[in-house]
């Protein structure tokens, strides 16, 4: 089902895994054992395509086809449907229990079988909390849910599926561990392949094969294969759905439930607008020139777009982003940068700024500006995507909160200045479609191209 060939993975100066070969067969449970820091999680996350490889490849079987999930040549593909439980749960606190379970089923192509969902939630002791947010659960309940979300896609699948579980029994009580053990044997019996990293000798005893990780190498032995298989729910229908579509719907739902992104962006923009208004009361605009007014009109929208997206904070919560990255594969970063960007606010904010800040001017000039104000506002959306991409780049760092993202965001002052120039010319000379340097259309195109360049570099280079 999965084949790891000649894999080498480095973390900093240390080679954690060296020339590792590993196969996962249908109907077996493989337990990865080893001391802390030996590379169990590294192996598991490399199998999921989350970590880059220094050499080797990870190949999954998808029906009759073989898919290179990731290799050291930079190739990366969306993995076939799988079950995945990360060490840090990989869930966002805004989600409800039911939503999370349904999401894990949807992204793995399973239909939303209400009866099966209720049965699984009841069996795992979460039925009474199905409408509660994940953040309201206890640590043990969160772990139960995370493990269930890793197991459920395979449990409802008639086709064999890979299940990757990192320390699944960590935080589970005795009943939970017994339940897990029964499900693992049942999944193996149904033809699925399970790899689990564990320190728990009890859980490891239900494995068909034991793999000891240490010194960068693997040592295999036969497992005890103990435990009575549980009864799994009946398989549900296949439901074709786009993982990217699921991510977009998830992001919108989280934002509508708690509009921290919209509020966090709009508040500083409105404060900037009020301050600009106060400042302009003290300035004689007839001598100040149009550049100042143009800059002040665009400042609220600019502030809105450079604010760190709430999506990134949601994705960093309990490694939620790593879960999505594993499920979506190489397309995750571009999608994050688009749905995390401020797409809606720049347009209304720019018009609001103009209405508030523009003093009395002749009707023809005002009409001309109102007719073309959308142009710099729309280009500001490109700037928003570039800003989100830069925030994502910084979020890749393990201590992202200790990095100064604003130093990279300074590059966006440049398109902002181009847009200011364009608006200033529109205000003084009206819109023109000339293609000379300094013409508003060219300034907007320049701003857009710079933003796209920044976006492309920030999105595609880290995955290169």
């Amino acid at each position: 089902m999965m084949h790891v060939a000649g894999m080498e993975v480095r973390r900093g100066p240390r080679t954690v895994l060296r020339d590792v070969d590993f196969r996962l067969l249908e109907g077996e449970v493989v337990a990865l054992e080893g001391p802390n820091g030996s590379g169990k999680t590294t192996l598991l996350e490399s199998c999921a395509g989350i970590l880059p490889l220094t050499s080797g490849s990870v190949t999954w079987r998808d029906g009759q086809a073989e898919v290179i999930v990731r290799d050291s040549e930079g190739r990366r593909n969306e993995p076939p449907p799988m079950g995945l439980t990360l060490q840090s749960d990989g869930m966002c606190g805004e989600e409800t229990v039911e939503e999370r379970l349904l999401l894990s089923l949807t992204v793995s192509g399973r239909g939303q079988n209400a009866g099966a969902v209720s049965q699984m939630l009841s069996e795992w002791g979460l039925e009474h909390r199905r409408a509660d947010r994940v953040s309201h659960l206890s640590g043990g309940q969160r772990r139960r849910l995370a493990v269930l979300c890793g197991l459920a896609p395979a449990a409802l699948s008639a086709d064999s599926m890979v299940v990757l579980l990192d320390e699944p029994s960590e935080g589970l009580d005795d009943a939970g561990r017994e339940l897990l053990s029964g499900w693992l044997r049942a999944l193996a019996g149904a033809g699925h392949g399970v790899v689990l990293a564990t320190h728990d000798a009890g859980i490891a005893r239900c494995a068909d094969r034991m793999v000891r990780v240490g010194g960068g190498h693997l040592e295999e032995s036969t497992g005890p294969c103990e435990g009575e298989p549980s009864k799994l729910p009946d398989p549900s229908q296949l439901a074709k759905s786009s993982t990217h579509g699921s991510l977009v719907r998830w992001a919108i739902k989280m934002e509508m439930r708690n509009p921290v992104d919209t509020t966090g962006r709009a508040t500083p923009a409105l404060v900037a607008l009020l301050l600009s208004y106060t400042l302009l009361q003290e300035v004689d605009m007839s001598h100040a020139g149009s550049d100042l007014l143009a800059a002040l009109v665009l400042v609220p929208a600019f502030i809105t777009v450079v604010v760190s997206p709430a999506l990134i904070r949601r994705l960093t919560e309990a490694d939620c982003g790593r879960w999505w990255s594993a499920v979506i594969g190489p397309g995750a970063r571009p999608t994050y940068s688009i749905i995390g960007a401020s797409i809606i606010l720049p347009l209304p904010l720019t018009y609001l700024s103009w209405i508030v800040l523009a003093g009395p001017s002749d009707a023809a000039s005002e009409s001309e500006v109102l007719s073309w104000l959308w142009l710099p506002a729309v280009v500001m959306i490109d700037v928003a995507a570039a800003a989100a991409a830069l925030h994502l780049l910084v979020a890749d760092l393990r201590r992202a909160s200790a990095a100064v993202a604003s130093l990279l965001l300074l590059v966006l002052v440049w398109p902002f200045l181009q847009l200011t120039d364009a608006l200033s010319v529109i205000m003084t000379d009206g819109m023109s479609f000339g293609l000379g340097i300094g013409d508003p259309l060219v300034s907007c195109i320049m701003a857009s191209l710079i933003s796209i360049l920044v976006w492309a570099v920030a999105i595609y280079l880290p995955d290169a």
């Binding site: 900093g12 220094t54 010194g215 201590r399 100064v404 990279l408 920030a458």
Partner: protein, 237 residues
Amino acid sequence: MHSLRATGATLTALGLSGAAATLLLGLLWAPSVDPEAWNAPEAYRILFWHVPFAWSSFLAFSVLFIGSVVWYARRSEIGWRLICTGSDLGLLFGLGVVISGPIWGSAEWGVPWDWGDLRLNTYGLLTAVALFLVLARNSQPDGHDTRDTIASVGLFGFALVPITALATTWYQERHPGIIIVETEEAGLAPEILTVLVLGFISFFVLFAGFAILSDALHQMESRLSGLQHRLDEEAIR
């Protein structure tokens, strides 16, 4: 390693002496420029440091770029060391440019910074990128993923360098042209040219000295990190 450090220290001392001599000759020996052509003719003397600072920082960003490419191509330790050295020196010499430039701008233009000048802004950004890299390297745990991210920011920074160079030629607004290349057109007095050349040589030697010292430091850090990991592994056993 010891002889390398001694070479680095010697070159650094030579470079610093040359830079000091450049400053003294620029202030005391170089003739004044045409007072009619400039608002603050005496302020031009800062150019004897400003221009070599700029060229040295270009050199530093080139080292950063090469390091980033090598890291991406091979994930090798030498690539990472070049990134470290390039970002350290890029910050050092970049700060020299963005500090000395506004001093001249204040005297000549009446304002330290011109937001309408593409080259000025691009240079500010290059230095900001170098500052980000140095801060990020010091604040992040060393790891494969950290190095990947920092290398991509390094490449991102270098993408700004050709834009800066093009900006100099195509979009030049208030900033003076590339006088070291256009010697005849600029009509530089021989004494000015002599001091400028001395400045270039001195800053290049200083760059080489700093680069050797910085690389030696990062080699030692890398060895120390390797030893710590061996101790970690032995502690687990």
